[in-house]
């Protein structure tokens, strides 16, 4: 039984293909301004990695902000449930999912078998989300993937006073102009974003195990800062943290096949 999950996010689109409860391939592309095309490209990429054609996929579930119009999907499921199911698949002891994606940050309280008990969402303000890092990396002329490792070199993280991404960008530029060390600025930004994520997570109550997903889960600096703010250890999945929603969607697609 082969199924697929397609997660069309604001910045990236992810497809995971599973067979009988194991992942056989995944593919990530940038969403751009044409979500339908991104979904198709992500699916084609994953199919080619798995040496499959679309006809061999029994069922596909779509999810994500732009996932409602995916032509090859049989059903749309909320991202919260997909993230929850995906996290539970990787780490069955999960009780809290912290998903920090491109345009939204979600804290999900997870119950039995990956059910969603409650959640908090910030998709109104870029502060505390992945977009903040894009803006920052550009301002600092540092690669997005280097932000985490660089922040770990800092001995005295600077305090970033601005909450707003636009104002923080200016603050970061003036810190640079004042001759401050880039690693201390990056560490300061990680701290400040982690504190905003932490206040969202505290709202639903922190229950271990806490699993972090989404692109920002690749930033070790944010994870460490968040562990500090929440006072608990944070786990990451043994796969690309960006595909957790797509994996959850694919597992839900398998369930649809079983029930049909």
């Amino acid at each position: 039984m082969i199924a697929a999950g397609c997660d069309v996010g604001s910045l990236t689109t992810k497809v995971a293909i599973t067979r009988d409860g194991s992942i056989i391939a995944h593919h990530i592309v940038e969403t751009g301004f044409k979500p339908d095309l991104a979904a198709k490209n992500a699916m084609d990429g994953a199919l080619s990695k798995a040496n499959l054609s679309i006809d061999e996929v029994g069922y596909c579930v779509s999810t994500g902000d732009g996932g409602k119009n995916v032509s090859f999907a049989g059903k749309y499921v909320s991202q919260l449930l997909c993230l929850s199911k995906g996290s539970y698949f990787f780490i069955p002891s999960v009780r809290t999912v912290v998903d920090v994606g491109g345009n939204a940050t979600r804290a999900i309280s997870v119950g039995k078998e990956g059910r969603v008990l409650s959640y908090r969402l910030n998709d109104k303000c870029a502060a505390g989300g992945g977009r903040f890092f894009d803006v920052l990396a550009e301002a600092l002329e540092v690669k997005l993937d280097d932000l985490g490792p660089l922040s770990q070199q800092s001995k005295s993280p600077l305090e970033i006073a601005s909450q707003c991404t636009v104002f923080a960008e200016s603050e970061v530029i003036s810190l640079l102009n004042d001759g401050k060390d880039v690693v201390d600025i990056i560490a300061g930004v990680n701290q400040s974003i982690a504190s905003r994520i932490a206040s969202l997570v505290r709202n639903i109550g922190v229950k271990e195990d806490v699993v972090m997903t989404g692109g920002v889960a690749k930033n070790i600096g944010v994870i460490k800062s968040l562990e500090g703010w929440l006072g608990v250890g944070i786990k990451t999945v043994p796969a690309d943290p960006q595909i957790v929603g797509a994996v959850g969607a694919s597992l839900l697609a398998e369930k649809e096949l079983q029930e049909s």
Binding site: F33, N103, K124, C125, R131, F167
Partner: protein, 260 residues
């Protein structure tokens, strides 16, 4: 008796020199890296225009973001009081002052004597401040002062739903990709800007007469949209709306000098 007010903001600095209840000269400059330098430069220009030297000024009050760092000012007063004072002197019937500056927005209620009654301020989030328009102008690749005139030619203003400047920027970029015209984009932006200012105004309530001060008062598109939302016609100044804070400073300087 010659008095002066000096308003050092985040983007511009203004100086007003007054004598016997009349404005002798006023100047506006873009800010220098340090507030002290901005204050000195703008004051020098205003002095030159009035054929005066710094020694001729009997009393000077500073205001604005950099107000505590102006060496030649005898005292400093908050920009909220100064905008209220300046606006009331220019238009005595004013009861609501909406000041939209480079990186903040204030709504100030004054009584019949120009005394501060109540105010509300947003300096935490770029939405509803001049910075929002700057970010948008950059996205459209046009000059800041082109947005207003362009917006007046729109037929179908694009709808911008995000409050966050960063997310709104993404929305505008998507509209550009879909082929929206510059006029419609500009009108969407001025409307979005006005909505954000309006949401602050309704929190303190609006009482006529209403004036708009600060650089954004020069944006006809934003002013028109805001007038529609507030259901009032705003009063227009006979002087540049950006000098109102500095003018208020000069008026306070006169009072202080007379008290002495």
């Amino acid at each position: 008796m010659i008095v002066a007010g000096c308003d050092v903001g985040s983007l511009t600095a203004e100086a007003v020199i007054m004598s016997d209840g009349e404005i002798l000269s006023s100047e506006i400059i873009g800010v220098r890296p340090k507030p002290e330098q901005s204050a000195k430069d703008v004051m020098d220009k205003a002095l030159q225009k009035a054929h005066l030297a710094l020694e001729d000024i009997d009393y000077c009050i500073s205001t604005g973001y950099g107000r505590e760092r102006i060496p030649f000012a005898r005292d400093n007063i908050s920009e909220i009081s100064c905008h209220g004072k300046g606006a009331h002197w220019l238009i005595p019937s004013v009861r609501t002052v909406i000041d939209v500056g480079g990186q903040d927005c204030k709504v100030i209620r004054v009584d019949a004597n120009g005394k501060l009654q109540n105010f509300i301020m947003n300096d935490k989030c770029a939405a509803g401040t001049g910075r929002f328009l700057e970010v948008m102008a950059k996205t459209l690749e046009i000059r800041l002062d082109e947005i207003g005139p362009l917006s007046l030619l729109a037929r179908n203003p694009v709808v911008i739903t995000s409050m966050c400047s960063i997310y709104a920027q993404t929305e505008v970029a998507a509209s550009i990709a879909q082929g929206a015209g510059r006029h419609d984009l500009a009108a969407g932006i001025t409307r979005a800007m006005a909505e954000r200012v309006n949401s602050l105004v309704v929190r303190v309530g609006v009482e006529e007469d209403v004036v708009i001060t600060g650089g954004v008062a020069k944006n006809t598109g934003v002013v028109k949209s805001l007038e529609v939302m507030l259901r009032v016609n705003t009063k227009k100044f006979t002087v540049d709306p950006q000098i109102v804070g500095a003018l208020g400073g000069a008026l306070f300087a006169k009072e202080k000098f007379l008290q002495k």
